[in-house]
Structure formats: structure tokens, C-alpha cells
Subunit: 240 residues, 4 copies
């Protein structure tokens, strides 16, 4: 079955920052969309400034996995759309949150915490270590991979302890970060993946793309039981 | 150090339902407050219909652990107070959510899920099994204890997988339920404990009170590091 | 890629107990092997009384997932074979342990605990509830399924808290049990699944077979990094 | 209640290596024993070359928490003593495993994995970050602390995913390590803590001692239910 992926990108930096436009001339989402298509998936982009942020009921109903990148305009996302995405995740849609998406309304909603962290823009080296080598999201990687220049994110990262921790980052300046965190909420799977500052060509790097496509496969909905809630019938016989 | 506990009770059933008033003439919170005091804690009640629901900034600042029971009026809790309680939990205040509090705004906020479940009022027998016998919340209990008549709650309980699962309930009518669930959010510890339908004398039962006092001790704040967030200084030397 | 499954059955009850032979005339493993083949997998049986218990280096090297059922002769399994199976699990081979296999040497080795539990043979009803409806092992199931007559297993089940808890059993006589437990050890995935007393036709029941085939797919090795251990080279430059 | 702690030290390096004797003239265990006593605990040492390695049935019966440091002579520990320690942990005794104790028989027994890792002796800087600031083992610490010169331990660390991850180490040479790992096995709590190479004065450092005393308090047995295993009585009435 062909997986259907919606890659959501805020899309504002590309309009206002030359440097970002130079790195991602067709939008930060573009290398991700292209790579997922190359892998045989049905991928399309959606952005903040489309009607309903490109996330209509129909789009979400036909999305197996939603990828989310946002940064400067988290507050412009309408609460009604956040409600809608949350509902779909609890029903089973996968969600992959990238980098500065840690501060998005939808991630904070699903985590229940501040999702705050430390950061520094110093173009420093990041080395991403695999701490769960049997996990499907680590397929095709080595024991670690490096990103030559990235923004630093440091602990404490205020999220719930992940159900599964796949990656831990080392930063040249002295920090560590839980960079690949798996969660299940309702029937939906969520993966937070740290890299991807908008001025670095991170989303062209093969290992980064590999992690994203692995995460899409891992987060795809499974055909588990439909859950029912509410009042249950009285037992046929008196219990006591 | 004397622990300071605020026992929050919605307090509406007691005003309108004779049956509840008969069981809890001074309010459902009263046996809990009394027991905590007997155990040497400083406990007081707060209720929905007080100004700011009895949860002013001052009250919360002086609360180590907050206990929460609500049912028919979850929507009457102001969002600003929910924000305030969430902030205090992330800072380290413990939170114990009882029974129908599963549907409170604050619990849904901290869990990020619907917190929905199955239920049936059939006065049936509940047997609560300890599945983590080394956990401090199980101190002083036997391998299981029974509540002779309770409302049934059944799976699927739509919460994140607990960080630690302490109790699993068996119900006479054929259901099971994860009845004692531990979470950490930010620096705060959260315990969900299932029993406590308002028409049953559950909060007078010694094992139930024992669990609550154990949970208060477990959830009390610890003197860990103050966490800081945001921008970190540039490194002294150029990194690359 | 066709998954290669070895279904290990102690195979002693079938030789000595008429009742077991009546239920499983070709061995308790046979319905499992047949079903896995029907699902397109390459499955074969191995039994205790074969040379090296049918688990030679070659067999294990060509096994993606090993299924294990044993009961009366756990002690007859040679320690050298247990070492070998453990090594393969840590390298990435999946392992599914069924029912009385909870007391096998290999399961106790991998868990580090006694793996003890309560039990009762009363032909009672077991109702297996799904508590993780988004998990791939729950695919194709309803919210619960029933086994009309089974041996009871009850808590406390002395295993490490599972990484993921998929099923909880309700028993007619008043017990509960964590019936579907996922673990990762090294690069290998392990699933413990409770049902399957040798005198009941449990392994012919469609829901039980469905769980087993789901678990095989979940436990199959993934192509993660080869891990290396031991001494790392000195850094090129002096660190201090 | 005064906690009773046995600090087990292999005690061989001190006999044969001048450098170790210079750092720890009275044995590597001595600063730990002294500090625990200063904190009001009843602490004593036990070493490999005593009869029964100093871990008789009586000693273990009167130990609330056992601390373990070993390195060059893991194989000299008798299996019968390992069995005995494991049994006591499952009954509720706490266990704290330090540094090279990762390769001890008792730790491998309780983990079920190889417990292997990467290492390098380069006297490099280690920075230990708190990733669970609400955890009692992090009490009294800052957001991180540094050890100026230590042996490096790097991922992949082949242990089960910890039930709670408290610390992650950053090393100057480019590695990370899960340095503070909590486990529950049976009724017993286990804490693995990374630092402590025998040629560095690590166990004199206040933050390191603080972590150890916090861990002792966390790992102390709790008065939970005595667990029973085995056959349960038939139900009074016929079930079906």
C-alpha cells in the first residue's frame, strides 16, 4: 500500500530571508517531498498560508503520516486546525515533528509539557549517535552520523520521557540532546527528530532523509482495533 | 519536612444529590483531608465554587501535592486556572488525579490525549492487583485488595503508556483497567488512581487511603536542578 | 523478503500424554507452522530431542524469528544452546516466547528475573484486552477476544516492566495478567504471549494465530547499524 | 530508619597498581563508605578476597542497598554468590553498579544483555547532563556537572532501555553515554552510574558522592506486598 504523506512547512522564512531561499529555493519541504516520492510514497506539501493551512478535513483523512516544520509563526496556526490534527493523531495518523517544530502548538498539545530547550547558533558540529540499533528508524545508518554545521539544541528538553529513545546528539560546544524520540498517543505514533535549522542544508543530507523515510514507515497507521468509549451494557445476570 | 497538600473537590454532587450527601456529608474530600492530617501532613480542601476555584497563585505556590476530584462540572474550570496548575506541575508540584478526574481539563492537558474510557454503573466488585510490588505507592498493601461495590472503568483507557504501571483492576463483569499510572511531566510527578465513584464509600476504605498517602509522598517535589531554557552563550573559542 | 521462522517445541507432552496428543496429533507446533506458511513465511519446527535441540549454529544463522514453547523439560535444554540463542537475539534475531515458556532458561536469561507467576488449571474463561490499539501486534483484532477454556496465569508476573504492554488478560476466577509484553534486548525484539496450555486447542484459534503472525513481523530483524564495542582510537589532537 | 549499605569493591587494583594506591590509599571504596556514614547511614565495605567475597547470607540479609565496583577480576566472583545477590535484589535489596561494574556477572545477570560498550583512556573531560530534573537521584545537582579527567565510555551501551534515564554524558572526544540508568527487577531497584575509573579521584568529587547517596535512598527497599507464586486454589463455585 502506497503511503500518503503530507509535508507541512510554515513557509515564511523562505519569503523573507535571502539566506533561507538560497538554501531551499523551492521551500524547505521540497527535498523531503522529493525524497519520499523517490522512495515510492505519495507525498505533497501543505503550508501555513494556504486556506485552512492546507490541512482540510479531506487532506487529513487521506494522510497516513504528517510531517511538521514550523518556527517563526507557530502562533498563526489556528486552534481549530490544531484540534483537528490532534484528533487524527489519536485515531492513528502518524506525526513527525522536525527541529523547531518542538514549539509548535500541535507538539505542545500532544506532549502536555512546555517542550522548551536550550539553543545556540554557532554553526557547530553535531554528531548523532544511535542508542537503539535494533529500532526500525535506525535502518541503514552507521553507529553515528555527523552534520557538519547545525544549530545546537541542549538539555533539559522538557518533553515526557520518550517511549523509545533512538538518537542522542553530541554537540561540539559541550551539550547533549535526545534527538530522536518516539511516542504513542491514542492509536497514533509520533516521532520528534531534532536536526533542520533553516539556514543549513540539513534536509539534503542522505542520513537525515533516511531517518525521515524510516520514521514515516514506522509511524504509518496499523490496522488495530477500532476503539469504543462510553457506557457499556449492564451484565445479563445480576453480579452480586 | 511537613508536606503541604491541597485536596481539590468539585463539590457539586454534594449539593444536589442526596445519595452523595449521605455518603460524604462533609464533602467527598473530607475523609482524604482527615487521613492526610492523621499522617502528619498539612492538608486543606479547595473547591470549584470558591474564588479562583480555591487555587490562587499563593495557594499553589504553597502546595507540594495537589489532589483532584471532579466529575459533572469539568467545563466550569477556567482555562487560566488550568494554565496555572499545569505550570506548577511542570515546576515540580505533584498531582494526583482521582477517578472521574480522568476527564478534567488539567489531566487532558497534561496527557495530550482524550483520556476517554468505558464505564458501567453496576455496583460490581473491583479487585485491584499490584503489578509493581517494589513501588513506593504499593507500600503496606497485600498482593491485591478489593472494593466491594464500584463503578466499572474499562480499557481502552486513552492515556499515554504510563512511565510506571502500579495497579491493574479486575472487574466482575469482564473488564480490566490500568488503575494506577505514574507519569513525570517537566519536574512534576503525576499519579492517576481509578477508584472513587461518588455514591460509594470508597474514600473511607483503608487500602484506598493508604494508596493516596503513599502517592502523595511519591509525588512530592524533589530538590533537583533548576532548569534554564533559551539561548546559550557562544563558545569562547571558535569551534571550527 | 520471506521471513524465516523456527518454531521450537519441547515436544515431550505429545509423547506421554494422550490428552495432548488428541488435541495436537502432529505436535503443538504444527498449527503454528502451518499458519505461518499460509501467510507466506518460511517456517519449520525444531524440538528438544533433536541433536543440539534442532538449534545448530546454521539453523539459528538462518532464522529471523524463533518461537519457543516448553514446559516439563526446561532443565534438559543445554546451557551452550541457551548461550547461542541469547547471542543471536542480541545480534537481532526476534524471539517469541509462548505460555509456559516463561520458565524456559532462555527467557529467564534474557529477563534477568525469576519469571515466576501464579497459575490454576480450572478450564476458565480468559478475556484478552488490547491496551495498545495502535501497536502492530494488535492488527486485525477487536477490542478484546476470548479463549473459552484456558489455564489461568496471575500477577505478580516477575518480569521487567515491558517496554510496551499490548495485552492484559481478565480471568473468570478473579485474576489479571500482563499477557502481551514487548522487550528489546541488544538489537533483538522479544514478545511474550501468554495463552497456550497444552490440553486446550488454543493454537487453532484464529485470534491467537493472528497475534503470533503479527508478532513475527514485529520481531523480525531490522537493518540497523552493526554495533562495535571495545577500545576506541585516541583523538588526533591532545584534548586538554 | 538507618539505611544499611554494603560497599563491595573488588580491591585488586589497590594491591598491584601504585597509581591506584596513590589515589585511593585505603581502597577505592573508602571515600564512599566515609561519605555514606557522614550522611547518617550505616555503611561497611566488603571485598573479593574475603571469604564468600564478604557477601554471606547474613551480610546480604542485613543489607538494604549494595554498591558494586569491580574491574579486573569479574570472573573470580563465584556463581553461587551471584545467585545469592540476584535473589536478594529480586526480594527488594537495592543495587548500585558503578563504572566498570557494567561487566560484572551480577549486572549482566540482571540485565540479560552483554552490557558491552566503547571505551578510551585519554583523561578527557566528561560533562554529565541531567535529563530528568525531577528525579530524586538528581537532588542537589546543577543542570550538569563536570569531571575534569575521566575514562570515556561510549554508545552503544548494550543494556535494556532504562526504566528511567537520569543522566547523559558528553565526552570531549565526541561520544555520548547514558550515564545514569534506573531499573526495577522483581521488587529491587537498580541504578547504574558511569563514572569512576580507578586512576582518577572521581569518588572524592562532591557531585559524584551526592549522586551515590541519592541513589542509595532511591534504591532502598519499600514495604510493598510480599509476593507469592505457584498454584492458586480452585474457585469455590464451578466457573462455567
Amino acid at each position: 500500500m502506497t503511503l500518503r504523506v503530507t509535508v507541512w512547512n510554515e513557509g515564511r522564512h523562505e519569503k523573507t530571508h535571502d539566506k533561507v531561499r538560497q538554501v531551499y529555493p523551492e521551500g524547505l519541504h521540497q527535498p523531503i517531498v522529493s525524497f519520499l516520492r523517490d522512495q515510492g510514497m505519495q507525498a505533497h506539501a501543505a503550508t501555513l498560508d494556504e486556506p485552512e493551512h492546507g490541512l482540510t478535513e479531506t487532506v487529513l483523512a487521506e494522510t497516513d503520516v504528517l510531517i511538521w516544520w514550523g518556527h517563526m509563526a507557530h502562533d498563526d496556526v489556528q486552534d481549530a486546525i490544531v484540534d483537528r490534527v490532534q484528533r487524527r493523531v489519536l485515531e492513528g495518523m502518524g506525526l513527525i515533528v522536525l527541529h523547531s517544530g518542538h514549539f509548535s502548538k500541535i507538539f505542545k498539545r500532544l506532549m502536555g509539557t512546555s517542550c522548551n530547550l536550550k539553543w545556540r547558533e554557532a554553526n557547530e558540529r553535531e554528531r548523532i549517535w544511535v542508542v537503539s540499533p535494533g529500532h526500525p528508524i535506525a535502518e541503514g545508518l552507521g553507529e553515528y552520523f555527523e552534520i557538519p554545521h547545525e544549530e545546537m539544541y541542549g538539555e533539559f528538553f522538557d518533553v515526557p520521557a520518550p517511549d523509545e529513545l533512538v538518537f542522542v546528539s553530541w554537540f561540539q560546544g559541550g551539550e547533549v540532546f535526545r534527538s530522536g524520540c518516539c511516542y504513542t498517543r491514542g492509536r497514533g505514533k509520533i516521532f520528534y527528530f531534532r536536526p533542520g535549522h533553516e539556514t543549513h542544508p540539513t534536509y539534503y543530507q542522505p542520513e537525515v532523509l533516511r531517518v525521515i523515510v524510516n520514521a514515516v514507515r514506522w509511524a504509518a497507521p496499523s490496522a488495530g482495533p477500532s476503539v469504543t468509549f462510553g457506557q457499556r451494557p449492564q451484565p445479563l445476570e445480576k453480579l452480586d
